[in-house]
Amino acid sequence: MNKKGGKLISVYWFAILFIVAGGIVYMVSAFYGKPYDVRLAEADILTSKIARCVSEAGYLKEGVLTEDFKNNFMESCAINFQAEDVYNWREQGQYYVEIEFLDFNTKQKISQISEGNQGLKPDCGLEGKGFPVCVDRKFYSIDKDGNQYQIKILSIVRKTEKNVQ
């Protein structure tokens, strides 16, 4: 009677072990099968880089509001939006940035710079796997003459195929 009971417990024990192991195998496979999504970090770094490019120690850099800076923004800030040549990424464009310079007191737009794939902007705020990641930041800056500015930076990174499954 006891012996039978012992065997019965062993069978249940192994059944439970297999169920637990199945669960672990499923969870581990699901976790490691998905790509690492680094787009938020990438968009954050892009935002910081642009902020450092237009402003230093709280002061707006000289010439940032000029047409020349606007036209040569990518070279001036050392940014290259060319992505690897897969999934038609090069033609499509995987990045978009928009920088707005506003008067701090009146909130009137003084200047705006935008670069990259503009088609990504309408997808901001939409929830779902296939949409790009958007980072929206704003900060205060002042120029040599004491004029105050609010600078808004919107950074968008798509690269969906390599970051989401």
């Binding site: 496979s29 690492y36 880089k49 690897e84 995987q94």
Partner: protein, 138 residues
């Protein structure tokens, strides 16, 4: 002379001991297989390729010209050695695309947006990582 009862008791104890040992061994085998599976998944070449390619791309994106960054890649380099890949060829950077290759039929690429000249150099002192020299793009 042992009695019949004593012999039966001895046989029964022997059976219980054998059953318990088999039960424990089976449990250990089962757990070992599970641990081997977990470790193999965690240190799979494909996972490490993706992780390091993205890590390096983000690192270079955040870097400033004049910086030299050291990255510990011991696990990845050990796997590359096993797969017959030269340690100095694990990381390559072409234009602004980082590629990490740990297998003959593998490799993972990821681009960075920082317009700099980044060069990967294998750390020959420790043989465990890479130095990334970041300079202005001329």
């Amino acid at each position: 002379m042992r009695s019949l009862g004593e012999n039966k008791l001895k046989n029964k104890s022997g059976n219980i001991l054998t059953e318990n040992i088999i039960f424990i061994i089976l449990n250990l085998v089962f757990l070992s297989i599970l641990i081997v599976f977990l470790v193999s998944k965690m240190s799979a070449a494909a996972v490490l390729e993706e992780m390091h390619a993205k890590q390096i791309a983000l690192m270079i994106s955040a870097a400033e010209p004049g910086m030299t960054i050291h990255l510990d890649m011991e696990n990845a380099i050990n796997i590359a050695k096993k797969e017959g890949i030269n340690s100095g060829d694990v990381v390559t950077i072409k234009e602004n695309v980082v590629t990490v290759k740990l297998r003959e039929k593998g490799g993972y690429s990821y681009s960075f947006f920082n317009n700099v000249d980044a060069r990967p150099n294998f750390d020959t002192l420790t043989n465990k990582g890479y130095f990334f020299v970041v300079d202005k793009n001329e």
